[in-house]
Symmetry: D2
C-alpha cells in the first residue's frame, strides 16, 4: 500500500511527498534501497521519492513541523497503531489513515467521500476533546465494502433504503500485503476465510451511514448485513455478490440503473483530482464485472457493477467490483486527503 | 467427464466397460487414438479400455443387446440429447445420464442416492407410459448443488426443514469441459456468471426433495433459493457459501454438527462401492474447506463442510465443497448405477 | 490482437481507424456488437470505433480506395492468408501484417524497426516483380523472439556478433488468442510445447539479421539457435532464458551493460510515436524481469533484460522479456506502419 | 516436507514413525495441534502420528536410543543444521537428510539410489574418521536436478556419456515451503530466479556421478552444466528443458528411447517399497510431460520425459519432470532410507 501511495502521489496537483517513514530496519536508507527488489508497481519509483531518506516511523517528533499531514498505512499491532497515530496528531499533524485501529473510535470520521463527506465536521470536536490544536485523525474503511456500499448508498440517497443484505466477496491477494497469502494457498485453490474481514464488512457500513450527534458519530444499524469473505487468486480487485432487500418501497430495475448511472456526489462537484467522473459504472454484459478487466475503471476509483437482476429470496441481486489497493486503499486515502484539503482541514491552524 | 468415468470404472466390482461411443469423428478409432494428447487424468488409460474401438454415439442400434446399460455424458444440443437418450432406452438400454436434458421430465428420477434413492420407484411408471420394456432413463443433478444439498437434506431429515437459502458458488473450470473456459478468463481473474447455472442451482433441489405422486415426481418448492454462480481458477472442486433460515424450530450449532457427523443413508447401508463411509465431513479449521485440499475426501464422493456459524440475517451460515467431476459428475453417475443395480433395475427384463 | 490494435490506435497522431473487417459472421454488425461480451481490454472501446460497421474481411474490393493501408491479423489457414493479403495489395493497399504466412517470402520485409529498418528498401522490388503499383506487404516476426533478439542485435551492432544461442521461453496465454489455451491446461500446470513456435523462434532471426541482395532478402544463418517453448499461466509477457556464445571476441559484462543501456536506433531518432525512448531496459534486481511487473515498460514496447551473468557452457546468460500483444503483436505492427509512413511508403503512388 | 514424510510413511512396510520433533514453539503439543490449520496434504493425518507429542528438535539427547534413525528436513541456518545433524549422528542415530548443509561434505554420500547406490560404501569411512559407532549422515540432492539427472545417467550407463548440458527449469512453489513464495509473485507472473538453485543444479550432479577414492567421494566434473531456474505457479512438479551434447559417439533417437524405456537399477531389483517399477517413463504425446498430469507417475517417484528431438546447437533436446516433494524430497529421502535399511546400515551396531 505504501508503494501504491508513492505511485499515485507522483505529480499530484495538491500534494508533494517530502518525507517517508518505515520500520526501524529501513531507517537511514534511501527509499529505493529500502524497497530493494520488492518494488512491485508496474511503473518506476518516481524520481522525487527514490532518494528520500527513510526515517523510523516511531520517531513522530522528527516529522513535526516538516509536513502538513501524514498518510498512515502500518502493519503493526492495533495498540501500537492507536498510540502512534495519537502521537502524530498530538504533535500537530493531520493523520489520514488506512489502518483499522481508529475506525470504531466515535469521534474519528471513517470516510468514503462520495457517501459521508459531511462526517469531516466532527474534526473540531475531536480536536477539542483531546486538546489538539492542528492535528487530527481521519480513517478510511475496509477495502471489502467499497465494492458494494456506494451503489447501496446511491439507492438510499434516492429514497430507497436497503434493509437487508447477504454478501459474498471474492477478494484479491494484494489485500493481505506482499507476504500475506502464500502461493501454496492460491494455486488451484481458494480460501473461504479472511481473519476479521467479515466483521468489518458487516459493521463498518453502519458507522459510514451514521450521523453526527454532538461529539460522536452515531451508527445507523438499520441495514442488517451478513458477509462471507473468500480469498481468490486475483492480484487486485475485490468482487462482491450481493442480494439485497429494501426497507420500504422497492424501485424497479430501470430505476436502479438510472440512479446508479446518474449518481455523483461532492468529490465530483469539487473536481477532486482522484474523484472519478463516474463513481458507479454499470456494465451491461452478462459476465461482468471481472477483476482483471474492470478494476482499472476510473483509474481504479470507480465501482463497477453488473448483473442487476431479481433475487429469488430478497428483492434484487447484483455484482460489484472495486480496485482494493486503489479505491480500497491508497487511492481512497488520497481522495480523503483531497477532500480534507479542499475543506481546509489540512492547512488551518 | 467421459475420461473420469473410464478412470473410476477401472476395476469396478459391479461393472465392466465393454463399449465406448463418441462423436462421429472419433468412430472407428481405438479409445487411445480418439483421446490422443487430450487424456488428462493423472493415471494411465486403463488397459481394458485403451484398445476398445469407439463407435458413433448416434448409432444406438449397434449397442442394443451388447450392454446392460449406458452412461450418457454428451456435449450436444438439448433436443438431440432428448431424442438420443429416448432412442437408447427404446432399444432396451438403461440410460444413466449426466445430462441436463431430461432433468425436468416429471417421470425421470434425478438422483442423489443419499437423499432421494426412493425416487427410483418411478421407473416402472416411466417404462409403462412409454411402452419401454427394459430401458429407462435416470439422471443426476447439476454439480453445483452437490456442495450444499446433502448437508441441508440431513437437517431436514432430522426434523429441521430449511425454508430459505442464499448461496454463492465458486466453481472449478473442469465443470465446463476441457475447452469450456479460456485461460484468458482465469489468469488473475474470476467470472461472475455461468450460463444456466443459477437456474439449475435454484430449481433442481425442488425436484430432488419432492415425492412421487402417481406417475410423476412432484417438486417440493418450500425452500426458496437464490444462487450467485462464479467461475474461479480451480481445476476441480465447487465451493458454496451458504446462508440458511429454518422453516420452524432452529437447531443449535451443536445439534447441526451432530446431525452432519452422524448422517448416513441407504448407499452406506448397502455398502455401494462408490458410497463414501461418511457422506458429510465437517472440518473444524477456520479456513476450510478448500478445493485443492478437501475435494478428494472420501475418494471425491464426500461433501466437506466447515465454518458453521450464525448468520446476521438468517439463522446459520456454512461453507460446503464437493468434487465436481467425481461426486458432481462421473462418480455421482456411477453411484446412481450402483444403486439401480442393487435395486435390480439394471438387470430386470 | 485486433482489440489491442483498436486500443493502441486510439488518438494516434498519424493514423485513424476508418474501417474494420472481420469474419463473415460479424459483417454488418457494429464493432461493439461484433465484439459483444468479449472485449477484454481494460479500457473502453474508443468512441471513434465502437459504431463502425464491420465488413467481411474477404471483401477486399470494397476497401480499395477507402484506406491508405490495412493492418492484417487473421486467424485463418496459411493459404487463405497468402491469397487474401495478395488480393489486398493487388487492389492498391499496403498490408502491414501480423501473420506468419508471408514471413519467409523472400521479397517481403519482416521488420523489427530497431534492427532491420533498412529492409523496407525491398518494397519497390516487391511491387515491380508483382506488377503492384501502390500496394505491398510487410510483416512482423513472431512474438517469442522479441524478448531476446533486440539485445542480441545491439551487441552485434557494437561489434560483438553472437554465434550460438540456446533459449527457453515462458510464453503468455494471450499469444494464442482468446480461445487458444484452455484454463484446464493453465491451472496448476505449464505446457512444454507450442505448435510451430520453436521453428519460428529459431529461423526468423536469420531473415531479420539478413541483407538485401537484388530482389530478395538473404538470411544470415551465422547464429545457431535452439529454442524450447513453454506456455505458462501469465496473461501477457513472454520471458526468454538465454545462453549465448560470441563468434569472436567476447565483451565484458560491463561492456554488454553499457551497450544495452545506450542502444537506440532509427525509430528513436525519428521519434516514431510508439518507439520507446529506451528500446532495452536493464534491471539490476536479481529476480527481474518478471512478466506482470515489467511488461508495461515503455508502454509495452521496451524489451526488459536482467540477470546478465556468465554461462557455465557458453559465454553469457540473461533473461529477456517483452509484451507479446504490444511489442510482439499490435504495437509492433503499428511501429512498422509508423516507420513505413515516415519513409513515405504508405502514401506514395 | 515434514507433512509429506508423515503421509508417505503411513503403513510403510519397513518403518514406523515413533517420534516427531520440530521447533521449540511446537514442542509439547500433539502433532495434530502443532500442525493446526496448516495440514495441507489431501489425505488425513495418519492416526498413528496425530497424537504423537512433538519434541524440540534441538534436544537430540532425548531421541538417542529411542529410534533407529531420523529423517532430517530443517528450515534453519546452514551452520545450525551442520551441528545438529552431527549431534544426532554422534549420539548414535543414522541421519537421512533432505538438507543441503552436508551435501558437499566429501565423506557424506548424496544419493539418488538408481544412480549412485554404491556411494553408501563411504559410510564406514565416515564413521571411522569421526569416531561414530552407529550414527552417520546421508543426504539427498536438490529437487531441481531429479527431473533430468536419471535420464542422463541412464545414457551414460549405456555407454553414451554426456559432456554438456544447458537446462532451464520451471519449478513448483512447494519447493520453497508453505510460506516460501508469496501469491503476489505467482498470480499472472513467473520469477526468473531462485536463490542458490542454479549453483546446486550445476554442481551437485558432479558429486552424484563421482566415485569413492579412499575416504572421500571425488566429483566427476566432466559434464559442463549451465542452469536457468524459474519459479512458476504450479503446486508440485519441477520441469526441466534440457539441451545436451555427448562426449563421444552420439546415440540415435531410437537408441535413447530404448535405453530410457528399459532402464532399471538396484532399487528396482531390491524391490524397495518406494522404488517405481519404471524409474523413467517416456511419453509420446507432443505436449508432455506436464506437471499436473504427470507428476504422480509411479506414485510420484518416476521421472517422466518427453519431446526427445534433435537440438539445433547440441545433439538432443528433451523435457523432464519429477515430483519435487515426493521424488525430490520426502519420497527420495525414504527411498534412501529403504536402500540403507536393506544394505544393513540402519541396524548394524
Amino acid at each position: 500500500v505504501g508503494q501504491m501511495y508513492v505511485k499515485l502521489l507522483s505529480n499530484h496537483p495538491f500534494f508533494d511527498v517530502t518525507h517517508v517513514a518505515a520500520s526501524p530496519q529501513s531507517a537511514g536508507k534511501s527509499y529505493k534501497e529500502a524497497v530493494g527488489a520488492r518494488w512491485f508497481m508496474n511503473t518506476e519509483i518516481p524520481a522525487s521519492v527514490r532518494d528520500l531518506v527513510v526515517s523510523d516511523a516511531n520517531d513522530f517528533q522528527s516529522v513535526a513541523g516538516k509536513c502538513d499531514f501524514v498518510f498512515s498505512a502500518l502493519d503493526l499491532d492495533k495498540n501500537l497503531i492507536l498510540s502512534l497515530e495519537d502521537n502524530y496528531a498530538r504533535v500537530g499533524l493531520a493523520v489520514v489513515s488506512n489502518n483499522s485501529a481508529h475506525r470504531q473510535t466515535p469521534d474519528v470520521p471513517m470516510l468514503i467521500p462520495e457517501i459521508n463527506h459531511a462526517h469531516t465536521a466532527i474534526i473540531p470536536q475531536q480536536r477539542a476533546s483531546r486538546g489538539w490544536k492542528r492535528g487530527f485523525i481521519a480513517v478510511k474503511p475496509n477495502c471489502s465494502l467499497q465494492s458494494y456500499l456506494t451503489p447501496v448508498y446511491a439507492l438510499q440517497a434516492a429514497g430507497f433504503p436497503v434493509s437487508t443484505m447477504i454478501i459474498t466477496t471474492l477478494q484479491a491477494v494484494s489485500g493481505a500485503g506482499y507476504n500475506g497469502v502464500p502461493s501454496m494457498d492460491m494455486v488451484d485453490n481458494t480460501v473461504p476465510f479472511i481473519g476479521g474481514e467479515e466483521e468489518k464488512t458487516e459493521e463498518e457500513p453502519h458507522k459510514i451511514l451514521g450521523r453526527i450527534e454532538g461529539d460522536r458519530i452515531v451508527a445507523d444499524t438499520a441495514i442488517r448485513i451478513s458477509a462471507h469473505c473468500n480469498r481468490v487468486p486475483v492480484v487486485d480487485g475485490h468482487t462482491a455478490c450481493v442480494s439485497m432487500g429494501f426497507a420500504g418501497q422497492k424501485p424497479s430495475r430501470d430505476e436502479i440503473l438510472r440512479i446508479w448511472k446518474s449518481f455523483t456526489s461532492l468529490p465530483q462537484q469539487m473536481k477532486l483530482p482522484l474523484a472519478p467522473a463516474q463513481p458507479i459504472l454499470y456494465r451491461d454484459e452478462e459476465n461482468r464485472p471481472q477483476p482483471r478487466k474492470d478494476r482499472d475503471a476510473g483509474k481504479g476509483m470507480t465501482v463497477v457493477v453488473g448483473r442487476l437482476r431479481e433475487c429469488k429470496v430478497f428483492d434484487f441481486r447484483f455484482v460489484g467490483l472495486s480496485h482494493n489497493t486503489v479505491r480500497g486503499a491508497a487511492g481512497g486515502g488520497i481522495l480523503n486527503a483531497e477532500l480534507l484539503y479542499k475543506q481546509g482541514y489540512l492547512t488551518q491552524a
